[in-house]
Symmetry: C2
DNA sequence: CTGAAAGCGCTTACAG
DNA sequence: CTGAAAGCGCTTACAG
């Protein structure tokens, strides 16, 4: 059996109230009593039962972390950063990986609600439904990386429009006019934002947008590879590729190589994310870096602020993208 | 305010006992009563308070996941797999990333203990101390990927000795006799096991072990790169490198390239992990694959077995490694 | 500065 | 098949 507050109280010859006060560092406690109680706690190896605590204090000191894909290097970094900030503030993190599946996300949200978490950080799945909004009525939800249509809440985002525009403008500056864009599901706000940036840059250069160059694939190297092969087989193939993220860029690179083409001479490429492996790929990858860790820390802090009672209107934090030029795009001009 | 079991009982005109029975699917409930209660639960949006439940049932239905580095692709995959198995069984997962830091691990274990988790899956940090053993007395702990000296518990491991021996033997078969091994801290059981495999293969080929070729570095591409540069600058440099993991192999590859040497012609290389980027690196990487996901699933299932009351002696599951030959090692012979 | 009492929202025997 | 009562381990007013 676990040692309870009652056991400690009996052993120390005080009431459970006093033990509770010592454990919770209440100011009004006789220092002698306090020392005695602390010594007994040590000796008996007492640790407070969090469930009992939560039940009465109505604070679980637990936060939900719901992400679409923890195997994405950026997401993994964010998980680490968020967990660290939360732990330092005395909160534990419950993790759910939805794999972009709305049903899994619903399960995650329901379980978190049942566990009476104090708040939720959500990296929303492709298809997020009403359920998120329902739960957000009871518990603070901060969105990271993506927004959800028709759901007004705190958000922490990368400036995807700007990032994609920079990448596209860079390819244009390097002489490209037929720039393919490999994207994911448009239901994802990030996809729409980056697409907007891509189109913005093309328009600014007076290049007509060719819808056949914008191809949706799954978020994997294999899918991007297949899509690239199809695009290269066209009569008037693109001379440059922009990939929704670095994982997909890797697939483009493989397809270009397999087609016997040279990168960046024949085909240029820009990715998005700046994963740790980007400089070490077959051709060092030009890509758009996000301030993933800073975003994650800001997200955790924003949630903590809400948990501390901040009732201000929803905040929308936005972090700058940065173009990292390497070989795959043909370098700087 | 949240809807409580009392609210539902009042609304449905039954006692809270009956509501509890319906929620928990007790067999002895009148089907008419059950339907009525279920309808009220639906209408009021009632979800049971997990903390209250845990307090009396003495089961939190929560499990701790403590890992050293969630940004490692293999670990990320394992987290996903474990979370999925646990969620399907009705358990939530609390995550902690220790960054190889024993202090962070202690914090994690303490917090998990306070949260009265039902069990813990631990990927132990370099330096694990007594605290783990203390907590393991109260709650089932399953170790994944590594063991802890002097701590007898359930373990799920890759066959690292065999994997490292295969990799080394492969390099020997390709004609190499001076094979450098870049390792991490020997306090990690995995490091010791792989080192044993490396030495085993050398002995089997009657190659004398040269301690100067075994170099410890941090687990990062940069550190491995620096170590490689030093080794290559020696009078009688190695002709092949074996890296503790793929991230470090990436650093070796970069150093070899920067030195103006050709891989695999001048220098051969084998990594460990088979990360998703391995085939797409500058030189497609020969590496040792672990059955990471299968290990993760087995770990979660083993813990669930313990939570179901299995009191059998500690189990030790071991999964086979597999050598994946690509270009960096010079291909198959 | 400290203790007795109530109660958080449930489940678990125990009656009936 | 259903309800009244006790109690899980705490914290929170309320006295003193």
């Amino acid at each position: 059996m676990r040692v309870t507050i009652r056991d400690v109280a009996k052993q120390a010859g005080v009431s459970i109230n006093t033990v509770s006060r010592v454990v919770n560092n209440h100011p009004d406690t006789n220092s002698f009593t306090k020392a005695k109680v602390e010594q007994v706690i040590q000796a008996m190896g007492y640790t407070p039962n969090h469930n009992a605590r939560s039940l009465v204090s109505r604070q679980s000191r637990t936060v939900g972390l719901v992400v679409t894909d923890c195997t994405n290097p950026n997401t993994a970094q964010q998980i680490r950063a968020m967990q660290q900030v939360l732990t330092e503030a005395g909160y534990a993190a419950m993790i759910f990986d939805t794999q972009e599946d709305g049903k899994r996300q619903n399960t995650a949200m329901r379980v978190l609600d049942e566990h009476i978490v104090d708040g939720i950080i959500l990296h929303p799945a492709e298809m997020s439904d009403e359920q998120v909004k329902q739960i957000a009525k009871r518990v603070p939800v901060v969105l990271i990386n993506r927004t959800i249509d028709g759901f007004e809440s705190d958000t922490v985002l990368n400036d995807n429009v700007d990032g994609a525009a920079m990448a596209t403008a860079h390819l244009i500056a390097n002489g490209h006019r037929r720039i393919a864009y490999l994207i994911a599901n448009r239901a994802i706000s990030t996809v729409r934002d980056r697409l907007a940036g891509y189109e913005l840059a093309l328009k600014a250069a007076a290049i007509e947008i060719d819808d056949r160059l914008v191809v949706r694939t799954a978020i994997s190297a294999e899918a991007a590879m297949a899509a690239t092969q199809q695009l290269l087989a066209q009569p008037n193939p693109p001379t440059a590729f922009f990939a929704y993220n670095d994982l997909m860029a890797v697939g483009v690179m493989a397809a270009v190589h397999e087609a016997g083409l040279c990168m960046p001479k024949d085909i240029a490429l820009v990715g998005f994310d700046n994963i740790v492996y980007a400089p070490y790929l077959q051709v060092p990858l030009t890509t758009v870096a996000q301030q993933s860790q800073e975003m994650a820390k800001a997200t955790a802090k924003l949630l903590l602020q809400r948990l501390a009672g901040d009732k201000a209107p929803p905040q929308h934090l936005r972090f700058k993208s940065k173009l990292i030029v390497r070989q795959s795009s043909g370098g700087p001009q």
